[in-house]
């Protein structure tokens, strides 16, 4: 089987954010990450497009995405002082949405940097 190639892909595993990685994939998993270091290779090869986990869990039970989003909004809205935390392993676009989330909740906003 021939693999598809993505040139100049970006690795986000460490702060180097190498943007010269060549990925060889079959749409389900990445088989090779050329130029990546050991850490980067593990990062690319350990994530697949398989459906390994349920879409969402609410109180430990499988739920649909809509149900989970509703439950999340409910808990956050009920709270007096909700916390929005993390944002290390996510995109800037999602980080911007997180800032908006904390803003409209009147909550706390913090990242790994504060540790």
């Amino acid at each position: 089987m021939t693999l598809q190639v993505v040139n100049n892909a970006t690795c986000t595993f460490c702060g180097c954010v190498c943007d010269d990685i060549q990925l060889h994939h079959d749409e389900v998993r990445i088989h090779e990450a050329r130029k990546a270091c050991v850490l980067g290779t593990a990062w690319f090869l350990n994530h697949t497009a398989e459906k390994k986990y349920p879409v969402a869990l609410v109180d430990g039970k499988e739920a649909t995405l809509d149900e989970a989003i509703e439950a999340a909004a409910h808990h956050l809205h009920e709270a007096d002082m909700p916390l929005v935390y993390g944002m290390s392993n996510t995109t800037c676009e999602a980080q911007k949405e997180c800032a908006a989330l904390a803003d409209q909740l009147g909550g706390l906003l913090d990242s790994h940097t504060s540790l």
Partner: protein, 320 residues
Amino acid sequence: MGGKVTCTLGEVKQRADFIVYWGGNPAECHPRHFTKYTIMQKSRFLPRGRKDRTMVLVDIRETKSAKAADTFLQVKPGKDFELITILRAMIKDQRVTDAQIEDTGMTREVLDKLVDQMKNCKFGCMFFGMGLSMTRGKHMNSAALLTLAAELNAFTKFVAMPMRGHGNVTGADVIMRWQTGYPFGITFNRGYPRYNPGEFSTVDVLVRGDCDAAFIIGADPGATMPQPAIDHLKRIPTICLDPHITHTSKLARVHITTAPQGIAAPGTAYRMDELPLPLKPALKSPYPTDEEVVRRINEELQKKPFWMPEGAPLTMTAHG
């Protein structure tokens, strides 16, 4: 860290002939840093690559990175601030006693040479890692090192840069600075952003039990935080977004599986020198992206009444 004297990694690659790594282990934590940006690169200004560059490693123990260094300086644990302060004095020819130098684990001879190298290089760069910024002194250490870099500019071109850790933490700093004016440790509880690390930083908030719900994204505090903080996450409704079922997902009331950034989710990530880079996802995930899920939660929340009653004052008065 506004006002820091820094540059991009591109400039380091082209020009830096003197490189200091302080409290970091790039060989194991940022494996391509040497080859892509610093000592191994040949450039127009440093055509002989490694031969044209000098590298000094300062750390409390001899890590794998020491093999790559020309000089390894073993500082006594917790004495970084003192050592930086001594260097700040020595570059200005101020008096420092031998006892003060010995207290940091150094000798005068070694420091004289280091000061000489620092002053006489063409372009110096100090990279500092968590061994400096997360040990005794913390941000005071980083501030001292940045000051040293600034002061060295009286003699030559000198910059400093933090070696930021995993993922897009740099992006989180930049986005929060852009959106709120502050990099982390923020609250909106008066309707506008306020900043106070120690009061609004997550570990403190969780250990004190201040928050009554938590939204966790792109992090796994359930595996990394101190136990009292984890216990509080278990007590309150926690919501977790992650490509995997993590420790945090297991203690959370709501877990949503999302597409991994850069692999199946498009977007932008910041390099440690605060350069934004586009992601090129190779795979199509069966899961939604973080961005999409958070946006949908925001939309859902907009349907609900705003937390602050209409007409309520935005600031608290002295009477509360």
